[in-house]
């Protein structure tokens, strides 16, 4: 009988790199939530940190921490599965480690400058060295270049490893998608005075990331995750992945037009953007059907309950946050009034959390299981309440914030946009309205619920499986069918 301590030496070299990315991702996740809480409180107590750590700074750290931790999570996920999927050892493990530290160093410097320098004079130098002042991609230009360099190394590592080993449907989609993902970032890397042109390209990065390339990336991770946690059949999973790619890119690429209604771009985008973005929920429904079908057909029997639960949270969160909340405001007739209100924030929170936070957490649970020497992580594990409460509190917290923001957003769309015509006074008439204020209060309350969930989650990640002496092998004897599928694939 042996307890399951963390055992890095049992990991392959890709997985060792992945663990670093995962740890950094979770630290940044914690930072994101901390700054989110402050930003949320500033709506209620506007004097909080006024003139010291203004809302703009707090918010920038909040959303940048999110973008970076999610990128870290994605890189980690790919490094985690790459040797398994390619059957070859990671090419350039040293390089992967090196770029991890460079990336982390760059992020640290960027955040310190955000916090302590904050703003600069109206010169191009400020954009190069302090912040770019464009939502989500505020990172100064020098850091952009660093990020692209890191992505190139990452891309080289990935492609070269698959080239050395074997290709699969999943890895083929993954590598092509990574090219697009990194390439798109460059659409946001230049200064332009014309704000219409600026926002036109800015949306290429933001929209074509979250509603196209990121979506496909997590589709690949999900496909691999279903094979891993459920032993789903590779052939079925791969076919579904292709279907999802066709539907996602088929709707999401031109769905970009739903951001081109009001920024100076021509009127034909009202039709194109409205139409194609209205189709975007379809692939998200397909993903739910796919994962629930797979889970169901394996009787929800899994060697890793937390991971499976988070994968299911991902399927539903993606559909609800992107599909349902996105659809609600994607037609121009509605978007005219909801555009740039708390309604948007409501959608942004549920979508980013539901689609991306969830799946990264799932992969981390898969990683923890392996790092603890394939420890038992199914029913009746010691301290199993912890991951369940973390799951419950995080999802309830984000869902609660989403509903609160939706109420505020409704009030704002109505009072400020529809009735007041979006003037300065109309803006504050809405901000002061009772329903709006209530929404802000509840958002803060559910923000604390979210934070409590995160604390539990991080605690659980450190200890889950530690006290257990059983391992997956024992589980497999009870669930022989889990293996038969994998066996079937190997046999063909």
């Amino acid at each position: 009988m042996q307890l399951h301590a963390f055992n890095y030496s049992a990991l392959n070299s890709g997985q060792k790199v992945a663990v670093k990315y995962f740890m950094a991702a979770m630290v940044l996740f914690a930072a994101q939530i901390a700054f989110g809480i402050i930003a949320g409180l500033q709506f209620i107590f506007p004097d909080l940190f006024f003139g010291v750590l203004d809302f703009s700074v707090v918010r920038m750290v909040h959303i940048n921490a999110m973008i970076v931790w999610m990128l870290f999570g994605f890189l980690g996920s790919v490094y985690w599965l790459i040797e398994d999927e390619s059957g070859a050892e990671l090419v350039g493990a040293k390089l992967a480690n090196f770029t991890f530290w460079i990336f982390l160093l760059a992020v640290t410097i960027v955040v310190l400058v955000y916090l302590f320098v904050q703003i600069g004079p109206g010169k191009i130098e400020s954009i190069w060295f302090i912040n770019e002042g464009r939502e989500y991609i505020e990172a100064p230009r020098w850091a952009d270049i660093g990020i692209v360099a890191c992505m190139l190394v990452f891309f080289y590592n990935t492609a070269a490893t698959f080239l050395k080993g074997k290709w699969s449907g999943i890895s083929g989609v993954l590598v092509l998608d990574l090219i697009a993902l990194a390439g798109l970032y460059m659409a946001g890397m230049f200064y332009v005075t014309n704000i219409s042109v600026d926002q036109h390209w800015w949306w290429w990065v933001i929209h074509l990331w979250v509603e196209a390339t990121w979506e496909v990336l997590v589709g690949c991770v999900m496909a691999w995750g279903l094979i891993k946690t459920l032993g789903a059949r590779r052939k079925i999973v791969t076919t579904w992945l292709y279907i999802e790619v066709a539907l996602m890119f088929g709707s999401g690429i031109l769905g970009l037009g739903h951001h081109y209604f009001w920024i100076g771009t021509p009127e034909y985008w009202l039709t194109i953007g409205g139409f194609f973005s209205a189709l975007e929920p379809i692939p998200l429904v397909a993903m739910v059907v796919h994962s629930v079908y797979d889970a169901g057909s394996h009787g929800f029997k899994s060697t890793n309950h937390p991971a499976l639960a988070w994968l299911i949270a991902h399927a539903f969160g993606n559909f609800l946050g992107g599909g349902v909340w996105g659809f609600m405001h994607t037609l121009p007739q509605i978007n005219l009034y909801t555009h740039g209100t708390q309604w948007t924030a409501s959608h942004g929170h549920l979508a980013f959390f539901g689609a991306y936070a969830t799946i990264i957490i799932a992969v981390i649970y898969i990683a923890i299981q392996r790092a603890r020497g394939d420890v038992w992580m199914s029913s009746d594990i010691a301290g199993g309440w912890r991951w369940k409460w973390a799951l419950g509190l995080l999802n309830a917290g984000v869902m609660g914030m989403t509903m609160a923001l939706l109420v505020s957003g409704y009030e704002q769309a109505f009072t400020e946009r529809a009735l007041g015509g979006s003037t300065w006074t109309a803006y504050f008439a809405a901000q002061n309205a009772a329903w709006f204020v209530q929404g802000m209060n509840w958002r803060a309350i559910f923000g604390f619920v979210t934070a409590a969930g995160l604390v539990l989650l991080l605690w659980d990640m450190m200890v889950i499986g530690r006290g257990d002496s059983r391992d997956i092998q024992e589980l497999n004897t009870g669930h022989a069918d889990d293996n038969s599928d994998t066996g079937a694939i190997l046999a063909t």
């Binding site: 109206g122 464009r134 939502e135 005075t193 704000i195 292709y242 920024i263 015509g421 300065w424 504050f428």
Partner: protein
Amino acid sequence: MNTDPWWSSENFWRKSAIFVTAFMALILIGLTFHTVSVIVAGTERVPAYAVINNRIDYVFNKERNFQVPKIGAEAPLFGKKLTESEAYDLVTLGKLTVQSKNCMNCHTMLGNGAYYAPDLTKAWLDPGWGTEASREQLMTNFLLDPVGNARTYGSGRRMPNLNITEPEAKGIIAFLKWMSSIDTNGFPANFDPIKQGEE
């Protein structure tokens, strides 16, 4: 071996995925060439920077059934008529300041950004600036000292002092004026602009 019906065939869906992606990407690229060509400054939708030499209004257009910017008589910003390249320089200073001071992590512009402070798409036309005569001075004062000139309308929410210099403030105002001339397909709707000129 391959006895699957077409709809469950891996090969069929792989080809579909490639085809659909390539097809949509091509359409997007085609549309992008067109779109960018009609939103460069100096077009019908996005006027040249020298538009800041003129009065800008936001009036209802029956045909299109929403409000559109209307470029009126000469009304040079800060009383000084600029050439296109001088106007470009001034608006550029404004835009660089907007980015360096991170305005869009509190405000929205063209509806994008943050939701902590009013949308600035039509800030130049905001009735809050009183009259056409007082506007330039009030805006400059506000940007130079947003705390001293705070209104907050009972919310207690103020804009912090961002160390904006006077030239930068003028640049910002030029930028805001120019932005208010962009044809945004009627966003924001029902906006009641400041009264300008004799009517």
